[in-house]
Symmetry: C2
Subunit: 143 residues, 2 copies
Amino acid sequence: MKIKIISVGKIKDKGIFQLCSKYKDRIKRFTKLEEVVLKSGSNYSENEKIVNHLKHSKGLHFALSEDGNSFNSNDFANKLSSIFGQLSFVIGGAEGLNEEAKANCDEIISLSSMTFTHEMAQLFLLEQVYRAFTIKQNIKYHK
Amino acid sequence: MKIKIISVGKIKDKGIFQLCSKYKDRIKRFTKLEEVVLKSGSNYSENEKIVNHLKHSKGLHFALSEDGNSFNSNDFANKLSSIFGQLSFVIGGAEGLNEEAKANCDEIISLSSMTFTHEMAQLFLLEQVYRAFTIKQNIKYHK
């Protein structure tokens, strides 16, 4: 299995950037992790870049959006563990993913029904992916 | 309105601590914010301290737990804006709130059906409380 995180724009908040780095390092103990950071711009151009990227990207694509399917951490871990090959998570920019970008993904998943910044959403996602590996491998969650 | 955050143990993760501080400072522009940090210990003793504290605490108490009621950010903002007087959010320790602690609260609310660390839960809560004020006062969310 290989995980890819497709996002828009570099993370500007220093605190969130450092926390994301921490979870990325932890995830890399369990699986390959690739990051694709697309250039930020208008919401239209960001979504266009995402759609173009998705056309040439292999494997499954999960879009993150608060209107997607929600899971508890165990179900999310079960879901991830059932996937072989490449799994990409797609996080929109400041204004989120448009319908075309979502339509190019295999599933829309929701971390919360609440709206978070796209930077915070990336942090939550990485934390849950790391948690998923610790759940499936029965490893004590390192806080 | 006054907001109180009741939590257990100091936040150890430096990154989360700094992000929480940032959102606390922002919330203080809109309302009074009091923090009560109870001493960490066994899950039993932590919950006992919470229950004891709640017995002498005024106003409404919302417990945070993934099995609680979930809201989108707008509904959460509407909920907060309807409250006058003191509103306390209760966040358990590493092992969460027990049934007695929950029973001593007025409502159980969920930020996500996923499990997060109690430190991360505090960060998410503070971000949503700040977001709620920006929504109700029609202020551009400062990222």
